[in-house]
Symmetry: C2
Subunit: 363 residues, 2 copies
């Protein structure tokens, strides 16, 4: 895209929507969807993208049309919006607890194929309520932790015990294992899986689904012998974190925040109209809060809620007040979650708006 | 509130809304509104609360009914919602730039009294467009920086030059100064103001409004000789940051996030269903990401998007899976901005829901 086309599109977006505007380029989105699908296909692993990044049934349908087996959600509210949008194979990679949520899960499972995760007996003890409401068996995978210290049982022995508990529970089907290997933890994940599978065999059970996850793990798809599916979310848009992880280039970043320079309070300082209520305080462990495409040497040093405070000391070129710039965020998933609509473009052409339909929904 | 009543309310909120739920106690909200008004009244300074914290016209009306002169907004989208909700005296403490926004500002100014801030000539050069649309003069205050290094001119000389520019611009009225003194910067703010006022006098101008700001500055209201108004936002709800600043106690915290313990992945670890998409990554410079009322020795150590990772090592009491807990967030303003609705209670009684009407609006 030439600088001139660029400038034309910035003017148009500022005129039509104002700034800050969260903008996705559909050409890049489609290329990113195709690349993830090809990565899965080449390894014979099913693609089950995580929709927490885009929260849009329209984009989920593009992923399914490209070949995805189903989708992954992180909460019921997201799954409800996706089912309403026509998606019929949904994994919720999360412990679902409490009567209110079990009722909603049962209602969903009546309409579409639902798979849920569990890492403890309390969660498992509630799930038969959902199956009873659905009137058919609910598939449950055991979440396993192989080093991230997030959710998940920490030993293969616990995984096998929970698998047996699921198999013995009315209305539940043991479906397999949900893994989220650290990028450097695939060998120990293999040991965990092999040990757990041996335990399953002794119990007369089998893991039909073995799901791995993570966009930084896309190069590792297929490394885990026995894996059947992969969940990647961020790769549909990419961001500075994915660039830092070496799995995306700037050309793969589909989402940018269009922001206006609202103040040049000092010679070496500037202020964007995008602060922690737009770009969020998620640093993702990186220095600075985003990459300003037009001023790559500028550093978004700090946020107020509606101010992005730019340090221009290292930047020879400096923007004037009123100038619109584009920012690649550190972590795109949380930025999408801040807005009700994304602006869609294709290259230098404005296409329209896309609702972030699954944002702000009940847990 | 006794532990028993407490537990009853937690069950009811989990059953009706599910978790995470962002809950405000109206008894505490009303007490906080009254306390801010009394602090302003006792110093003869008008109260112009900042609605960025609650984003609710209903709560803004409570503030006006308690005696506030008007409100402060940080962006046009907020002001539009507030004007629709019946608020007729609105300061936007922000540089408004670009044709789209100037058109919206003019349309607002036709309906209600609008005052806007500026800290540079480019902003001032655009504002007559809004006044022309409104068909009447627009009041403009100069934003002054006395140490925060955010927006604002850095010298009294610049402030006077901009005041003259405003006075010479068609359709604009110079209305005064917008200050946001650092909590330890009131003396130099006084020097700035006195010097600027002397410059104004030489130019035949006068600052009708001198606005100070900040909830941590509530104890400092009245310290600035010549101040006419104060803007405080967070004090309507309070949070861990306000407690750390010594301007609120736990009893003054009106907002808590009701969260469910969804996993006890290890003996010293737990996981809440509230991560960076609920509590946000704003630390406010504090250790940990919130205070769990039931387990004050537990530390919310880290977030995934929908996981709050709790370190229980220092906590003798430890929650079980499925237990609902209440979290006082570090920074309440950004938490409110994550949800479309707040749940309202009074003491141990569920009252209903309140839309966060000005969330997610156009810049």
């Amino acid at each position: 895209m030439s600088a001139l086309q660029h400038s034309h599109l910035k003017d148009e977006i500022a005129r039509v929507f104002g700034t800050p505007a969260v903008v996705i380029d559909l050409d890049i989105v489609e290329a990113n969807i195709a690349r993830l699908q090809a990565a899965c296909d080449s390894k014979g692993v099913a693609n089950r993208p995580h929709i927490k990044t885009h929260k849009s049934p329209e984009l989920a349908r593009l992923q399914i049309e490209a070949g995805a087996r189903g989708i992954t959600c992180q909460k019921l509210g997201e799954a409800e919006v996706m089912a309403d949008g026509g998606i019929d194979d949904i994994l919720i990679s999360y412990n679902i607890l409490g009567e209110q949520k079990l009722g909603r899960l049962g209602a969903l499972q009546r309409r579409v194929r639902m798979i849920v995760a569990a890492d403890n007996p309390v969660t498992i003890s509630g799930l038969p309520q959902a199956a009873a409401i659905a009137g058919r068996d609910l598939e449950v995978v055991i979440e396993c932790d192989t080093g991230r210290k997030r959710a998940g049982v920490e030993t293969p022995g616990e995984a096998v015990e929970l698998a047996k508990l699921i198999a013995a529970s009315p209305g539940l089907t043991f479906a397999g294992f949900l893994m989220y290997p650290p990028e450097d933890g695939w060998e120990r994940t293999q040991v965990f899986l092999d040990t757990a599978n041996a335990g399953l065999r002794d119990a007369g059970l089998e893991a039909g689904m073995v799901s791995t996850g993570g966009s930084p793990n896309i190069p590792n798809i297929g490394k885990l012998k026995g894996a059947t599916e992969h969940r990647a979310g961020t790769s549909i848009f990419n961001d500075r974190m994915q660039m830092a992880a070496g799995v995306a280039t700037l050309d793969d970043c589909a989402l940018t925040v269009y922001a206006t320079v609202v103040s040049r309070a000092g010679p070496e300082r500037g202020i964007l109209d995008s602060g922690s209520k737009t770009l969020t305080s998620d640093t993702g462990g990186l220095d600075g809060h985003g990459l300003i495409l037009e001023y790559p040497a500028a550093r978004i040093a700090k946020f107020a809620e509606e101010h992005g405070l730019i340090d221009l000391a290292a930047s020879n070129e400096r923007p004037g007040v009123g100038e619109v710039v584009r920012v690649v965020p550190n972590h795109v998933c949380v930025v999408v979650n801040m807005v009700d609509r994304l602006v869609m473009v294709r290259g230098d052409r404005l296409v329209g708006e896309l609702p972030v339909a699954a944002r702000g929904k009940l847990g």
